[in-house]
């Protein structure tokens, strides 16, 4: 697999997962506990996706590692704050 094809495949995984998570949010929008679990899965998935993506590119630094952890945590907090329970 070429570098470009791998890049596209990894972004496709992110886009598909985001769409599935959005659909799951909608389906479980009245189940607040389930939504909380989904928020955790979303942020964890994103952090892991970013770290693996950069590790495969051999570009994973400490700063990039924390960047994905922080972005993942930030989206969890934003969703939790918006859910307002």
């Amino acid at each position: 697999m070429t570098e470009k094809a791998r890049h596209i495949a990894e972004y496709a995984v992110l886009a598909i997962a985001s769409t599935i998570l959005l659909a799951a949010f909608y389906y479980l929008r009245f189940e607040k506990n389930a939504l909380m679990v989904l928020f955790g899965i979303s942020s964890g998935f994103y952090a892991i996706w970013g770290i693996i993506h950069h590790a495969l590119e051999s570009r994973l630094t400490k700063s990039i590692f924390f960047e994905y952890i922080l972005f993942g945590f930030l989206i969890f907090l934003l969703l939790f704050f918006a859910l307002n329970i």
């Binding site: 972004y11 992110l14 886009a15 985001s18 998570l21 959005l22 949010f25 909608y26 929008r29 009245f30 189940e31 607040k32 939504l35 979303s42 994103y46 996706w49 970013g50 993506h53 950069h54 570009r59 630094t61 700063s63 990039i64 924390f66 960047e67 994905y68 922080l70 972005f71 945590f73 930030l74 989206i75 907090l77 934003l78 969703l79 939790f80 704050f81 918006a82 859910l83 307002n84 329970i85």
Partner: protein, 323 residues
């Protein structure tokens, strides 16, 4: 440096002056809070890891303060709502009749039991099927001398519309079981405004029943009589000190707190997520324009996940809890 390059061609002496007096160009550095730095090869300061840590801390502090603030100023924060009993009945019965079930009749005793339950929840500051003193839904129903063979209860709070309440019940298997049960002939509702845990809100109680004597099912006249009542009582429940008394409305209740938490948190999160997404787009544009080679996470990935967050907050997430 990007900002200097154009000036250097125009007037090299200014560049010499700036090199000797670096503080004189400090004010131009402000732009790099929003744009990536071409020399440092870093993201905008507002997208740095340090900034992300600060954002997380601020959000956590805000969430914490929303938990504690209502204890000191009860009734200031709340959930605006325009729920009313008639819409709850129409929406509930539509769910039933669409599935070939009989429509429920509003019973005055079940309505009174529901209102007592709601008033009791505000008085004792709880939100559950069983009160802290052990009272169950059936106790409220039996207190009204409603002799039943089947009975049930659905509860909701913090919703803004009647339709959202009924849709939430329909989407929960245990509540749907009550809503669409063929064992019930009658229903009673309470839509009660008050302060619970410091938040001004609307509690919705729906009580179902089938009278032991089938001839006891409410007539159309009895139902109309219950539905036509409005604002029947005020201040029946004892509120915590400083909190407004609950208002039990049947016809047209509306809660308008000083700050609607649902709207406020929604707009704050949308604005903040939108701002960060804008900064990420600026990062892509400026990085490509200046050919900045920086080593950091993928901006497009961050944008993708932020768009997912914005869509979730904008379209999907709504306030409201059911039990």
């Amino acid at each position: 440096m990007a900002l200097l390059s154009k000036t250097k061609e125009q007037n090299p002496s200014i560049v010499k002056y700036w090199r000797k007096n670096p503080k004189s160009i400090d004010k131009f550095q402000f732009i790099y809070h929003f744009l990536p730095h071409p020399e440092h090869k870093r993201r905008a300061t507002l997208l740095s890891n340090k900034a992300l840590v600060i954002y997380c801390l601020v959000i956590m502090l805000t969430i914490g303060s929303l938990r504690f603030f209502p204890k000191f100023a009860p009734g200031v924060l709340g959930y605006a709502s325009s729920i009313n009993m008639k819409d709850l009945l129409v929406d509930s019965n539509k769910m039933r009749t669409d599935r070939g079930l009989s429509a429920l009749r509003v019973n005055a005793k079940l309505t009174e039991a529901a209102q007592e339950k709601a008033a009791n929840m505000f008085k004792d500051q709880y939100w559950a099927h069983v009160s802290p003193s052990g009272s169950e839904p059936w106790d409220f129903i039996l207190k009204q001398n409603y002799d039943y063979t089947y009975a049930g209860e659905n509860l909701a709070k913090n919703f803004s519309t009647s339709q959202d309440v009924v849709t939430a019940w329909y989407n929960s298997p245990s509540h749907r079981e009550n809503l669409l049960s063929p064992n019930y002939d009658e229903v009673g509702f309470a839509v009660v405004n008050g302060v619970l845990d410091g938040y001004e809100t609307t509690l919705v109680v729906q009580m179902f029943g089938r009278p032991r004597d089938p001839h006891q099912v409410a007539t159309v006249e009895e139902e109309d009589n219950v539905l036509s009542k409005a604002a029947i009582s005020t201040g029946e429940a004892t509120q915590p000190e400083g909190a407004p008394a609950p208002v039990v409305n049947i016809k047209q209740p509306a809660v308008l707190p000083a700050i609607d938490v649902a709207t406020a948190t929604r707009y704050v999160t949308l604005s903040f997520a939108g701002f960060l997404t804008l900064l990420l787009f600026l990062d892509i544009w400026y990085t490509r324009k200046k050919g900045i080679a920086k080593l950091n996470g993928h901006t497009i990935a961050h944008i993708t996940i932020f768009i997912m967050v914005i869509l979730s907050i904008w379209i999907v997430l709504r306030p409201g809890l059911i039990i």
